[in-house]
């Protein structure tokens, strides 16, 4: 049985203008060692074909007869086959194709791509599905992407703001505190996402959008603080000490627990409080918009840890230890900046009468109680018994975040 001899006609097309694509395509389905006749009229064809074959590991033979329409015979090499032998798919492109363990040498390759073996390890140390994944990540990312708002147009910056000087100062102090905390909330997910293997890309995408959310929060709170032309408020050592324990937590689950479940969870109550007691429309709009984003950050934190606690029964004791460690680290710290606490009271009071200040103080106490209840609720969602949830919530930093 003889097969028809494979031939390829290049006409005038030269190797300087892409002829290799036609030759390569013709060789693709041939067996190593089989010969392909190459025809064409470019004067440099044989010289270029020979140079190309050498780099590709193909052999070449010239026909004996000078009048042969075949200019050269290429005998198929096997370097392309060798390159892709042992290649593997990096899981599948959809979330159901996610693997339990992402291989270091997959590096930045798209999930589902065919991976040539070899290449350096980029050191993504968070590479276990059970450690980084939550099934809600793709839909939360899609929601987050669709819910991005433009600080320039989402807020009516030209709305009338003319508050008594001391109320304005209270707003500025609260905004200064919020910016500081938002910056911690920006840095923490950004640091974590750079360590997560891109195989879990939906988690990276979600954290990237989360960091972008915080970037907007930093912007709008700063802009509100400076709206009436004054200076920023104060930043206390105790506030920065508290945030330092968040930023330096190296463990993904623990960082996400302290930041998203406990810290941002408490901020949901704070932002609701500021929305309700806002003395001007701009303060109301910036806190309301930020709160919508924060709800997503908390949702992912809770879902991620719920997923993990299903596969790791020791998780809860680790979370407990993290709260206790942080409490210990902050035992010599006074917690919330007194200026911030006073500003919250002043904001609610709105005037300097004993009755109004007393009401303001009560409201801020109630805020702290709401935060505590919210934290306990989320801890119970993570599987903590009610009494343990109450103990742990009480150990949370007085800085709120």
């Amino acid at each position: 049985m003889t097969r028809p001899t494979p031939l390829i006609e290049l006409d005038e097309l030269s190797f300087e203008r892409g002829a290799h694509l036609l030759v390569q395509r013709a060789l693709l389905d041939m067996q190593p060692g089989a010969e392909l006749g190459v025809m064409g009229t470019d004067p440099a064809l044989n010289i270029h074909l020979e140079a190309w074959c050498r780099t590709q590991g193909h052999g070449i033979r010239l026909p004996e007869d000078r009048d042969d329409p075949v200019r050269a015979w290429v005998s198929r090499g096997r370097t392309d086959i060798d390159r892709w032998t042992g290649a593997e798919r990096a899981g599948g492109p959809y979330p159901r194709g996610i693997q339990a363990k992402a291989e270091p040498h997959w590096g930045l390759a798209a999930r589902g791509a065919l991976i040539e073996p070899g290449a350096p390890d980029l050191g993504f140390d968070l590479a276990d599905r059970d450690y980084v994944w939550a099934d809600i990540a793709p839909s939360l990312y899609a929601h987050a992407a669709s819910a991005q708002w433009d600080p320039e147009t989402a807020i009516d910056w030209r709305a009338e703001v003319s508050l008594p000087a001391e109320i304005e100062l209270a707003v500025v102090q609260i905004m200064t505190y919020l910016v500081e905390n938002e910056q911690a909330a920006l840095v923490v997910p950004a640091k974590l996402l750079s360590r997560i293997h891109p195989h879990f890309r939906e988690v990276l995408q979600l954290l990237a959008v989360q960091a972008a959310d915080e970037a907007r929060h930093v912007e709008v709170f700063t802009r509100r603080a400076l709206l009436t032309g004054g200076e920023m408020g104060t930043s206390s050592v105790s506030g920065r000490e508290s945030l330092a324990t968040l930023v330096t937590e190296p463990d993904f689950s623990l960082a996400s627990f302290l930041l998203s479940v406990l810290g941002e969870g408490s901020f949901l109550n704070l932002l609701t409080f500021l929305d309700r007691h806002a003395p001007d429309p701009i303060t109301r709009q910036v806190t309301r918009l930020a709160r919508q984003d924060e709800a997503r950050h908390v949702a992912f934190g809770v879902a991620h840890l719920q997923h993990q606690s299903k596969v790791d029964p020791s998780l809860r004791s680790q979370l407990r230890a993290a709260v206790e460690r942080r409490h210990q680290a902050l035992s010599n710290s006074t917690g919330l900046n007194q200026d911030v606490f006073d500003a919250l009271v002043t904001l609610v009071a709105g005037e300097w009468t004993p009755e109004a200040i007393g009401r303001g103080f009560e409201e801020v106490q109630k805020l702290q109680k709401d935060m505590d209840e919210g934290r306990q609720h989320r801890l119970i969602n993570l599987g903590f018994p009610a009494d343990e949830a109450a103990d742990l919530s009480a150990l949370h930093t007085r800085n709120f975040m």
Binding site: R17, P43, A44, T55, G57, T79, G118
Partner: protein, 108 residues
């Protein structure tokens, strides 16, 4: 000029494609050779050669090195094919009797 450079220049546009004409071609010669002096102990030289020859393009660890050099395989050394090149260089007086480059402004 070697053939692979001519192809490269044409592809990159250094020489516009089709703008040059080949008027003569030498027989094939190996444009790169790994040369050892006789100061190398023969058993070491042999071992080194064996190691190179054992490198396989199918090995994902060494393939990137082959790719960097534009190679797919090592072959035993050969010096045949250099004669026309040697003659051309001698005729042009590029090197003197001691092997020193004679062209003053030549910068490799």
């Amino acid at each position: 000029m070697i053939d692979s450079n001519h192809l490269l220049f044409g592809r990159e546009g250094t020489l516009p494609a089709g703008s040059t004409r080949m008027i003569a071609q030498t027989p094939m010669f190996d444009h790169c050779n790994l040369t050892l002096t006789d100061a190398v102990p023969p058993d070491l030289a042999q071992q080194f050669g064996d190691l190179l020859l054992s490198m396989s393009y199918a090995d994902p660890q060494v393939r990137p090195l082959f790719d960097l050099e534009g190679l797919t395989v090592w072959r035993p050394g050969r010096t045949n094919g250099y004669a026309p090149l040697e003659t051309a260089i001698d005729e042009a007086g590029f090197y003197d009797a001691e092997g020193v480059i004679t062209v003053a402004e030549y910068k490799p």
